[in-house]
């Protein structure tokens, strides 16, 4: 009797499984036809594509060249090269950003730099088409030519 019962249970389980796989069969397919629908933006908002340093309309960024991101980077992907410049208001020498070098080829997209940045100067974009023919093209300079540090808003 147990034998027959187990056979019936087995048949019932099999029908359940086949029902589930039939649901998958008729479900709309998730495959993206990538090169054809290139204009359609499909990566997720949280996707870490490429590191960028946002600039405002006056060509100003928020990076103070503190170098915390460089220290936190496990792969040596980021190089913060700073220079000393005389501050006009106080008359003292101040460290400002010269070049922010980001090597896309060695980045593992761990996001430690973005999370550790005290100024929120860098962030991720969804840009994902990174393929190039030569390696030097992967070395990106993130700060734009002639950009300066954004002035802090004075507290009222």
């Amino acid at each position: 009797m147990n034998h027959i019962k187990s056979i019936l249970i087995g048949i019932w389980r099999m029908m359940q499984g086949m029902y589930i796989s039939m649901l998958n069969f008729i479900r709309p397919k998730v495959t993206e036809q990538y090169p054809e629908n290139r204009g359609k933006v499909f990566p997720h908002e949280r996707m870490r594509g490429q590191l960028v340093m946002p600039h405002n309309e006056n060509n100003e960024h928020k990076c103070t060249a503190c170098g915390i991101c460089q220290m936190n980077c496990p792969n040596g992907t980021i190089q913060v090269i700073s220079k000393k410049e005389l501050d006009e208001e106080t008359g003292k020498e101040k460290k400002i950003l010269d070049r922010y070098i980001y090597d896309l080829g060695s980045c593992t997209y761990c996001s430690l730099c973005v999370e550790s940045c005290p100024q929120d100067a860098i962030e991720w974009t969804n840009e994902f088409e990174h393929a190039t023919f030569t390696r030097p093209k992967l070395y990106n300079k993130l700060n734009k030519e002639g950009s300066t540090l954004m002035k802090k808003e004075k507290k009222n």
Partner: protein, 355 residues
């Protein structure tokens, strides 16, 4: 209803008016051989495409869609690729048996293919013991599989071949018993006559519950005989790389591949011939206008529709179930399917006597 009988009879008469009987027969044999090989190859290409597309859909993918519209020429491209590949000589293998094995497998498959009634008069071999012939010839393939496993000089192929031998020989039993219940119902073993008898009700409706049980058992056992789906432990790619055809390459591997796909088709075709009425349209006694409309659909389309429905069932099971272990596989056969089949034969006898 248009039958292919017209075409084949016309060819026969045409040849006989111009040639002596011997030459006419000879030319007909050649024509039949060429036709069978061509249909065999074309069906294999279609089946490979169907398989890839269906399994993609079960995995929420689209499947082949680059070569040709909807990837229709994909399997042709694969065929060309496999034809121009090198045949690798295996070190310390048995070269004669190694080469013979691939041919044995595909010859068994083609011989079975010839006996399938596609339409009235579109059947190469029509014995009065057709069902016996099908069972006997389709079992020849296991010899090729065992030879392939033995002659490759490789432990994985050996294990795969031994598993395949155990599996095929044991599932042959319930396969044969399930077919036997249908032979009991029809009272004949001639395939063309079995199809003719189903002109008013397909066997699965005529035979009632015993026929339904036999159909399900036949689908399971036949599926196991094709070494696919949840029963693919002879080639279990995660444990035995590819089982008995691990060492094969190029067209020899292609033969195994072809035979595997066509065996799936043959099992489905036998199921549709014996249970679902073969090329016979769906007729319901009493509904004359309905029967007339059904007659407008050509019988070949009916046959292929039913067969591809059975093929789809096989693929559906394949993508639902995980692979069985060897002891579970043999338990399923000897403890479950075999007793069900034996009881079912008694049931069928009672059904024939009392209903």
């Amino acid at each position: 209803m248009f039958h292919f009988e017209v075409v084949t009879n016309w060819i026969d008469e045409f040849l006989r008016t111009y040639l002596s009987e011997g030459w006419a027969l000879f030319i007909e044999f050649v024509l039949i051989g060429v036709a069978i090989l061509a249909v065999y190859a074309v069906l294999a290409l279609i089946l490979i495409y169907v398989e890839r597309k269906v399994c993609a859909f079960f995995q929420c993918r689209i499947g082949p869609n680059r070569v040709g519209p909807f990837g229709l020429i994909q399997s042709v491209a694969d065929m060309i690729k496999i034809l121009i590949k090198e045949l690798i000589r295996i070190d310390r293998a048995d070269p004669r048996l190694f080469r013979l094995a691939a041919f044995l497998v595909i010859i068994a498959s083609i011989c079975t293919f010839g006996a399938i009634p596609f339409d009235k008069g579109l059947q190469a071999v029509d014995f009065n013991i057709g069902v016996f012939y099908l069972l006997a010839v389709s079992s020849l393939g296991v010899v090729g599989i065992l030879l392939a496993g033995w002659s490759s000089n490789n432990k994985y192929t050996m294990i795969g071949a031994m598993r395949s031998g155990a599996q095929l020989i044991s599932y042959e039993l319930s396969c044969g018993l399930a077919l036997m219940t249908m032979v009991m119902l029809s009272g004949t073993m001639q395939l063309s006559e079995i199809v003719e008898q189903q002109s008013y009700a397909w066997n699965i409706f005529r035979g009632g519950i015993p026929a339904l049980i036999a159909f399900v058992v036949y689908l399971i056992a036949g599926h196991a005989e094709t070494n696919r789906g949840p029963f693919d432990l002879p080639e279990a790619e995660s444990e035995l790389t590819a089982g008995y055809h691990t060492e094969y390459s190029g067209i020899q591997f292609g033969f195994f591949y072809l035979a595997e796909y066509l065996n799936m088709f043959i099992i489905a075709a036998i199921a549709s011939t014996l249970f679902l009425g073969g090329w016979m349209p769906l007729h319901i006694p009493g509904w004359e206008s309905f029967n007339q409309i059904m007659d407008y659909i050509p019988p070949v389309l009916w046959f292929f529709g039913k067969t591809f429905f059975c093929v789809f069932l096989a693929l559906w099971v394949r993508w639902t179930m995980p692979r069985l272990r060897i002891d579970q596989l043999l338990n399923l056969e000897w403890k479950i399917l075999m007793p069900i089949c034996l009881v079912n034969i008694v049931l069928m006898a009672l059904w024939i006597i009392y209903v």
